[in-house]
């Protein structure tokens, strides 16, 4: 008899999701899906609102990486207020935003690694479920748990001092920033009491990397083969090819490293990226237009960024990057669990950038905002912790928003996450008569590698058809409803 397995809710991810796996009579996986069961509506909420409200309003999409939405929206509005195409701010304007963004990048990545993922490495996917969480980590590996908590706190402090508040601040405004960093604030981060200072953060980032690399050494096959599949990779890179999460051009490579999007201007993202709507999910499926739906889907996030960029512009992270690249002989890395490795290299990079920015006297400048000739439309793109984030707004003659389009990081990873679910389901469940807890955990581990933020990913309202199917134990359809 065929059966349907449901994993709900998917745990230790941001937001709520649901997975269904359909198996045939011979216990073979025939279909699998990651459903997003949350429903948001931010693209509609902002319509009719004054444009300068957008960075403060849309960041409410998320409590984990609100800064990403805050800054992406502000970048789009920079264009609207005539402050250039993303690189026209004053030095203090851009550097304060960078500091805020790298601070949030640091805390979000740390949260994901220590709080959400480390239990899988420490206790294994078949470990005691009661222990596979941050409390379990604190009981057995106290030092590691403390590091995770304090590193996150440091990132949050960076956000507080740049945005005014740890969550949902107001620092970035159209054309710049609303405050600079005082010397006292700078010293809080630079010379804060141990461990809350930038140098300690670099030291701990290195030790987190060591932890992962050791785990990898002992579990090569397990890590490398898990949910590994070829894909395209997309991210923003700096014009010279460096890793840059604040500003740059769009680049995509295929699984072999060939350029399939060659450093194009992100303001015209809509010429290159299309989104497909599927009836069974609130989350859209983006793909590269010129390659089509079947071949054009891509991964984003840490793994993709380290596949697209040529180098990392900070010495310690660059050294780690070289070791990481050597592992795949310079070719793109297509292994899902290597997201963790890439993420930790980015944690180190963020810590180095934060330290260097804090030493920059431009942060104490007073010229916070620039404005020029007003425009009616603006696009802002940044690399959020989870991947490339697009914000696009149009305004009318009265300064009210008439259109908003957001393509959020997790949405970009929709197809890859579904592939990861399928690959793991097949690897762990094919031929198995009984489905065990560790098998279901494996599916979650695959999803978790992408650090999805499911609440962010379902921000749209109004265009999504919704289909609900209720299946009996035998697979017979009992009820079916459709909304379009």
């Amino acid at each position: 008899m065929s059966k349907k397995i449901t994993i709900e809710p998917v745990t230790r991810v941001e937001g709520h999701g649901k997975v269904t796996i359909q198996m045939d009579d011979n216990h073979q996986v025939i279909d699998s899906r990651l459903h997003i069961v949350e429903f948001r509506g931010f693209e509609r909420f902002v319509q009719g609102r004054p444009y300068w409200e957008a960075p403060v309003l849309v960041q409410r999409l998320c409590g984990i990486c609100p800064v990403s939405h805050h800054i992406a929206a502000a970048k789009a509005l920079d264009v609207i207020v005539g402050a250039g195409d993303g690189d026209g701010l004053t030095a203090v304007g851009e550097k304060m935003r960078r500091l805020m963004h790298y601070g949030q990048f640091f805390q979000s990545h740390v949260l994901h690694f220590f709080h959400l993922s480390s239990p899988d490495f420490l206790f294994g996917i078949d470990g005691d479920p009661a222990m596979r969480n941050i409390v379990g980590v604190a009981q057995v590996h106290k030092e590691l748990a403390v590091q995770g908590v304090m590193m996150r706190k440091f990132g949050q402090e960076v956000i507080r001092l740049t945005a005014g508040k740890k969550i949902h601040g107001t620092g970035a405004i159209p054309g710049g920033i609303n405050k600079n960093l005082s010397i006292a604030e700078r010293d809080e981060l630079l010379k804060g009491p141990d461990p809350l200072n930038a140098d300690k953060m670099i030291e701990w980032s290195l030790s987190a990397l060591e932890f992962f690399k050791n785990y990898h050494k002992q579990n090569h096959a397990k890590v490398d083969d898990f949910a590994s599949f070829p894909s395209n990779h997309l991210s923003m890179v700096r014009k010279d090819g460096a890793l840059d999460i604040y500003h740059g051009v769009l680049r995509a490579v295929d699984s072999e490293g060939n350029r399939i999007l060659d450093d194009v201007d992100y303001h015209e993202y809509y010429n290159y990226i299309e989104e497909e709507v599927k009836s069974w999910s609130y989350m859209k499926f983006p793909y590269l237009k010129h390659l089509g739906k079947e071949k054009g889907w891509y991964r984003v996030g840490p793994l993709a960024r380290l596949n697209t960029c040529d180098f990392i512009p900070s010495p310690l992270a660059q050294k780690e990057f070289e070791e990481y690249k050597a592992y795949t002989h310079g070719k793109p890395n297509n292994m899902s669990l290597h997201y963790h490795w890439a993420r930790l290299i980015e944690v180190l990079h963020a810590a180095e950038v934060i330290r260097d920015l804090l030493h920059d006297p431009d942060l104490q400048n007073e010229d916070l905002v620039v404005k020029g000739k007003k425009q009616k439309e603006g696009v802002g793109v940044i690399e959020a912790p989870r991947g490339t984030l697009f914000h696009h707004y149009k305004i009318d003659d009265n300064d009210l928003i008439t259109m908003a389009n957001l393509i959020v990081s997790t949405t970009n990873n929709n197809e890859p996450m579904n592939r990861a679910v399928e690959s793991t389901a097949r690897a762990f469940m094919n031929g198995q008569e009984t489905i065990t807890e560790p098998m279901m955990n494996a599916v979650e581990v695959a999803i978790r590698a992408y650090d999805p933020c499911l609440s962010c990913a379902t921000h749209a309202l109004g265009q999504m058809p919704l289909e609900m199917t209720i299946l009996g134990a035998s697979g017979r359809i009992l009820d079916h409803k459709m909304k379009d």
Binding site: P50, W52, E53, R60, A163, K165, I173, P174, N178
Partner: protein, 236 residues
């Protein structure tokens, strides 16, 4: 306060004090470092007593203290559980009768309604939200009139006039459809400083000066520094 010729004696919450003859209860209390909450009241403009926030009790009767003058021997109840409950209910009613979303409001931190809600410890209104359908009028070059947040306090109508005394703002409609609108002709030529003053005088975020958004950092806004009323209470 000392007794002099132009002073009379009153009692506020059992505390005997001397206040200036001819002043209103709100003014007299302020003179003595006692805060009576107000919302529609604006110093320098005629009081209208439309919000009822300043309700006090005199001889067991509820009175608005922004319009009631002090008299010799008057005994006033102000900071009592009963009256504070009335005030909290007024704040809650104002919240549910409009669409007040503080998180994305430019006035947050400078908003008197929000500050009063904090002072009277409103967590969530006990009344059902009415979610009225209101417009955002952005047709004027200087000002956005955000009808969702207007509490009809009339402060803009009373205080924003041109050099001939002509009102920039006026009431339109009645009852639940009442709105405060900006005169379209005068609005077109509204001077910059007056537009900024209109935003400042509005106790909530219903009058927004165009393109001014969030440039005052969190932590430096008026009520981030001290709770509403403390400027009077700390000034004894």
């Amino acid at each position: 306060m000392e007794k002099t010729n132009n002073k009379i004696r009153i009692t506020i919450d059992g505390k005997r004090t001397y206040v200036t003859k001819g002043s209103t209860i709100v003014e007299a209390a302020k003179e003595n470092g006692i805060y009576i909450p107000t919302l529609c009241h604006f110093e320098g403009a005629d009081p209208k007593a439309c919000c009822r926030m300043c309700t006090v009790k005199i001889n067991n009767r509820m009175m608005t203290s922004c319009t009631t003058p002090v008299t010799e021997g008057m005994e006033i109840e102000n900071d009592t559980e009963e009256l504070n409950e009335v005030r909290k209910s007024i704040i809650e009613l104002l919240f549910v009768s409009g669409n007040h979303f503080c998180p994305a409001c430019e006035k947050s931190g400078n908003c008197e309604l929000q500050a009063l809600a904090y002072r009277y410890k409103m967590l969530v209104p006990r009344f059902p939200y009415s979610f009225p359908r209101k417009e955002v009028d952005a047709s004027s070059p200087k000002i956005i009139k955000e009808q969702n947040r207007c509490i009809a306090c009339k402060r803009c109508i009373k205080t924003i006039r041109d050099e001939h005394g002509k009102h920039y703002f006026a009431y339109k409609n009645r009852g639940q459809h009442l709105e405060v609108i900006l005169d379209p002709v005068l609005g077109d030529t509204m001077p910059d400083d007056l537009a900024k003053k209109a935003m400042e005088n509005c106790p909530v975020g219903s009058i927004l000066y165009k393109e001014k958004g969030f440039d005052q950092p969190i932590g430096t806004r008026k009520y981030d520094k001290q709770p509403i009323g403390s400027e009077i209470e700390n000034n004894v």
